[in-house]
């Protein structure tokens, strides 16, 4: 099992960035940083579009981020129906790194706001599947 363990439904079986899943298992969300030019990427990339290098290191996304925008979905695409309602958000972390993902289901509607502080954490989905979410 590799990258196809990521997310509620994975649409990608194989990627050179599959070590992402191993980091998640250690409760770490990681992006990649180019060894040549230092460009930082999230979601992680295996190739640097800035300098064309394929030499990458992993860096952890830690600390507090800020919610830039969000939505609470009451309908879902095929395969995700049982999850509704769920909230999706974009949050910005250090160095302008943005993370897209779901918000913690336990957050109340009153708590969820643009500008709220969040951190990332891994979520065990059961069935040998793993994801991450943004939580307060």
């Amino acid at each position: 099992m590799g990258f196809d363990q990521f997310g509620i439904i994975s649409f990608t079986g194989t990627t050179k960035a599959e070590q992402f899943v191993e980091f998640l298992k250690n409760n770490e969300l990681r992006g990649t940083v180019c060894k040549e030019c230092g460009a930082k990427f999230f979601p992680p990339r295996s190739d640097c579009a800035v300098c064309l290098s394929d030499e990458m290191d992993w860096f952890p996304i830690t600390g507090e981020g800020t919610v830039v925008t969000f939505t609470k979905a009451n309908f879902a695409p095929a395969g995700f129906e049982k999850d509704v309602p769920y909230a999706l958000a974009v949050a910005e972390f250090a160095d302008g790194i943005k993370v897209f993902g779901r918000l913690d289901k336990n957050l109340s509607d009153d708590e969820i706001k643009v500008g709220m502080k969040v951190k990332v954490r891994a979520v065990d989905l059961g069935d040998d599947r793993i994801s991450y979410e943004l939580t307060a």
Binding site: P43, T69, A73, K98
Partner: protein, 384 residues
């Protein structure tokens, strides 16, 4: 560079469920455009077929369509940029004609979305974003555009009622467009009633899936003057792109691809936003039209809400927008949408738009977006 003109336009009636196959659906727009242009199939030098994949089972649809439309043995190929496919087809046709490679090129857009359920359709549209890093969270178009609506509201104080007013306008014109799928007038109270699909967007903020086809026939200006009494010239074309992943976006209050495409198109046409007499914008959601007002320079950033509050985008207003009902009333058969927008503008500039006619329209603009602002096409047309 050689000038390129539109010499024929057509579209099928957009409908929730078309009682025929994709080839038959495509033929409706083709027949309409060929009659409009007064052409025979042998006079089409090449065809460009546009749709988004996976809504029907046909692979390589251009081969099928060229055969059914009677366009063999001329060249044909497929162009795709999801919801803006047929505007990208227009751009491609422009290049083929301006280069001198072909004189007359046909752009056919189609989509038959009723072959799959709404949830399946949302799953496919969700996969029109980043399938590796985003689709595993359960993404869909309303949720993506809802995040832009939230961003716009936070930054500029736009309200849900402002978005509702855009739907009310769409329904005003949808009811007089015989090609539209939704022809009922809506009042603001009714628009505000339903529950959220994805906050802050409710059902009437969203366009609906539809079946439909569109067809645009283009020719070099010289050929167009031989074939046609009132060719409509392409004055400017812009196209730009933005990262497919939301994490790569620098703003959630406007679409960068549309801003850039608009700037390019205005520069090429040598006009400013104030010169546009009538516009068709990609209102897949009400927020998309609100952002288009600002991205295209019809209003300053944050002031789009004043345009709709003051009814300046109605037919009699300062800048009439989507006076055919837009995607919100016509329905949105993905691959056909751009061609339908182009048809509306061509009819406006020919003064053939009937009850929807904007007085003295000389310059028209089409804004057609693919995905959640992945692809932005802006095309400007003129009578001379």
């Amino acid at each position: 560079m050689a000038k390129v003109a539109v010499i024929g336009v057509g579209q099928s009636t957009f409908t929730r469920s078309y009682p025929g196959s994709i080839r038959e659906l495509a033929f409706e727009a083709f027949r309409d455009a060929m009659k409009d242009a007064g052409l025979k199939a042998g006079q089409i030098d090449a065809s460009i077929i546009c749709s988004a994949p996976e809504y029907d089972k046909q692979r390589t649809p251009s081969g099928l369509m060229a055969e059914y439309l009677g366009l063999n043995p001329q060249p044909t190929f497929y162009v795709e940029s999801v919801c803006s496919s047929s505007s990208t087809g227009l751009r491609t046709a422009y290049g083929l004609i301006a280069s001198g490679l072909h004189d007359v090129v046909l752009v056919l857009g189609f989509q038959k979305m009723s072959e799959i359920s709404s949830a399946e359709s949302q799953e496919r549209m969700g996969r029109g974003a980043d399938i590796q890093w985003e689709a595993p969270f359960g993404t869909m178009m309303p949720a993506y555009y809802a995040m832009y609506a939230r961003g716009h509201m936070e930054k500029y104080g736009t309200t849900e009622e402002d978005l509702g007013l855009i739907r009310v306008k769409a329904s005003t014109y949808g009811q007089i467009n015989e090609k539209a799928a939704f022809r009922k007038a809506l009042v603001l109270e009714k628009v505000m009633e339903p529950k959220y699909i994805a906050t802050p967007l409710k059902m009437f903020d969203c366009c609906a899936n539809a079946d439909g086809s569109s067809c645009v026939i283009l020719a070099s200006e010289e050929k167009a003057r031989d074939l046609c009494d009132k060719p409509i010239l392409i004055k400017g074309l812009g196209m730009a792109t933005a990262p497919i992943n939301m994490a790569g976006r620098d703003t959630f209050s406007g679409l960068r691809c549309a801003q850039l495409a608009g700037k390019q198109a205005y520069e090429m046409a040598g006009i400013s936003p104030a010169d546009v007499d009538v516009a068709e914008v990609h209102d897949c959601f009400t927020i998309a039209e609100m952002m288009a007002y600002e991205d295209l320079g019809f209003a300053a950033p944050g002031e789009g809400k004043d345009l709709i509050r003051n009814k300046e985008t109605y037919r009699e207003g300062k800048i009439p927008v989507n006076v055919d009902g837009g995607l919100l009333s016509k329905g949105h058969p993905i691959g056909a949408t751009g061609g339908s927008q182009i048809r509306t503008i061509v009819l406006q500039l020919r003064e053939q738009a009937g009850d929807m006619q904007v007085a003295d329209a000389k310059i028209g603009l089409v804004h057609n977006i693919g995905g959640v602002g992945i692809y932005g096409n802006v095309s400007i047309f003129g009578v001379e």
